[in-house]
Symmetry: none
Subunit: 200 residues, 4 copies
DNA sequence: GATGAATGAGTGTTCATTCAT
DNA sequence: AATGAATGAACACTCATTCAT
């Protein structure tokens, strides 16, 4: 305890810090998260945080980055080109919403946090943009005979937006992942028609 | 100095302050907006802000409130029950996106800001929830022969989410209001089918 | 109400203001008493306070002054030179403690307040000094054959100090006026001997 | 700058801060003493004050506490039960007035200050109450054959009050410690009789 | 005579950030 | 490699005080 400053390899320390940071950031929001609190939670001294990350902003950026990577990894399997496009989209939705469900606090809050913190909006934007692009491609490849004027990337924006809104409810525990996937899948392919009595 | 700060009636000052506050809040985010900056922008002294609004939080809340009211007013015409439901939805979309287009900075950022500011999330949430409810009713009344299990309010969540995402692009000038309205309208009724070559 | 600004003669207004000021000062202490609160309690506008008293300090000084005068008036009857000195002292004690008992909040707190507020200590001091002088004279005139070196004014300081301490308890309701008078009277003439079983 | 503010051990800094605080509080009174001024006088930065004491109130409380302890220590020797009670009282008076004489500014003003600051009155009150209790015991044990109804604690209140009043004069340099001790000692045992020519 | 409107100046408090060890 | 000690710079908020009407 007193003086038990374990020598840990850099990589481990880094994760330890990010874990602590994410927890504190998500609990308190960016501004109300203090470096003191993060250092305390990570069981290290404040100067270590600065040694590793340079500033609060950079630390937050690192958090967003790590979560963004994890997020993309969670969705990537959807990219399996052996599946038919529609299955791919479904897989992507499942990956996305499953991730949100499994990482409610750490991701959701960071995500919503970061969007509000304009200094980081662009960074979140890049993760999101990758998601949108991926979605756009899926949409395009799964649409036979598309109207030539169709802008799939804007369609993807809308779908991802819908996905995010639904994800909020998933994260809030108001709806479960499967129902959310069905809803979005249906919305994508049939619009409101999907709410019409089936086969009747 | 610059603006000749001369005794104005209360109502005028209030708007002056809110205008300034919205500008500063939207430029800097809630936490990075200082009361000093807001007072300066409003050409008044800080104590006036406190006299009129009591605290930074209350000032921000007042901003959200005013914009929320304006927002609802902008969309309300859509409620005309003489129109067929689908026209109503279209009118609502036009009202919504038109408002965002016309009040980019003041609304968009406040909106995104407020969502990230946990203390205010609930307040924004209520405006948003009203919007979602309204949407849900439109969806329901415009769907003939609905599947009995359909949860229109979750559908509405998704659509509003899509709308917000598209609205971001509208506010960013990346897409124009009409195209956005078409897109969301199409998404609502036909899903991706709407991107298929028409008349085919 | 709205606009019912009664034209009151100056003297009345002054008392009204002082009453309000004393109440607020005694409730909150000098620093935590705001001119706003005083004006509100006096049912007048703040500028009136300034018109009549010039500043918060001067207002407080006026409070102390008025209460000081009242205080001295309450004790003065003791000066009746027809009474034997010891009766005079008893009358003075009764006057003093009776005043404190009857004006707990307004006097006691102001008094203790003012002593702590060094800017006003001297002013309170003057009321107090008059009291001490009076006491000293009583002591002197009632002591037959005094030791030539006796400094009655320091004796008076001690007695008045004892009186104030006892007065605190009177104001606090912990002891009643008569008991307090007996105690101090006894202390003055017999010291602790006064606590010895009588006539035994 | 002036003082070469170099990393000092906690204990040292604490005293440094309290010294400065006491000086500033006693010079200006609680409210008019600014944390800035205290920090400046202590040759440290304001955040240090907050790091060590948390708030202005707590800092003031710490001042009162430290002085209170010193005060009690100065008087404690009087508790030597080998001395006859009357000697004990004399020793206590000497301790008390000697302390006041030696710590004029730091104690006197703090004491008078704290009494006026309602938030701290209770804290001072407790020190004072201990003093009163101690005095009451001394009085009781030194009175042979007391009147059964005698309330020594009220007697003690009066005596301590007299002591405080005299202490003010001691602190003001208007009377020296020995004379003050004689006066109070005499007052306690003989009342005004003590001013009568001795041996008569 | 009376006041609503307005502010300059200051206070306590916090926090990201950096030395000195 | 690691940290306890220290601070500069802000910020929200308050209040006595004064115009302009």
């Amino acid at each position: 305890m007193a003086g038990g400053t374990k020598r840990l390899p850099r990589a481990v320390r880094e994760q330890q810090m990010l874990d602590a940071a994410i927890e504190v950031f998500s609990d308190n929001g960016f501004h109300d998260a203090s470096m003191d609190a993060i250092a305390a939670k990570a069981n290290i001294s404040k100067p270590m945080l600065y040694l590793y990350y340079g500033s609060k902003d950079e630390l937050f950026a690192a958090c967003i980055h790590r979560e963004g990577v994890r997020f993309v990894e969670a969705i990537s399997p959807a990219g399996d080109p052996n599946l038919p496009p529609r299955e791919q989209l479904r897989a992507a939705l499942t990956g996305f919403l499953g991730f949100v469900d499994a990482n409610r606090r750490s991701w959701m809050v960071l995500y919503r946090q970061a969007i509000g913190q304009q200094a980081f909006a662009s960074q979140v934007g890049s993760s999101r943009d990758r998601l949108i692009e991926l979605t756009a491609k899926l949409l395009e490849s799964s649409t036979k005979d598309p109207d030539p004027g169709t802008d799939f990337s804007i369609m993807a924006v809308a779908l991802v937006g819908a996905g995010e809104a639904v994800a909020d409810r998933v994260a809030g525990g108001e709806i479960d992942v499967d129902a959310a996937v069905d809803l979005l899948d249906s919305l994508a392919w049939r619009g409101l028609a999907g709410t019409t009595k089936k086969k009747q």
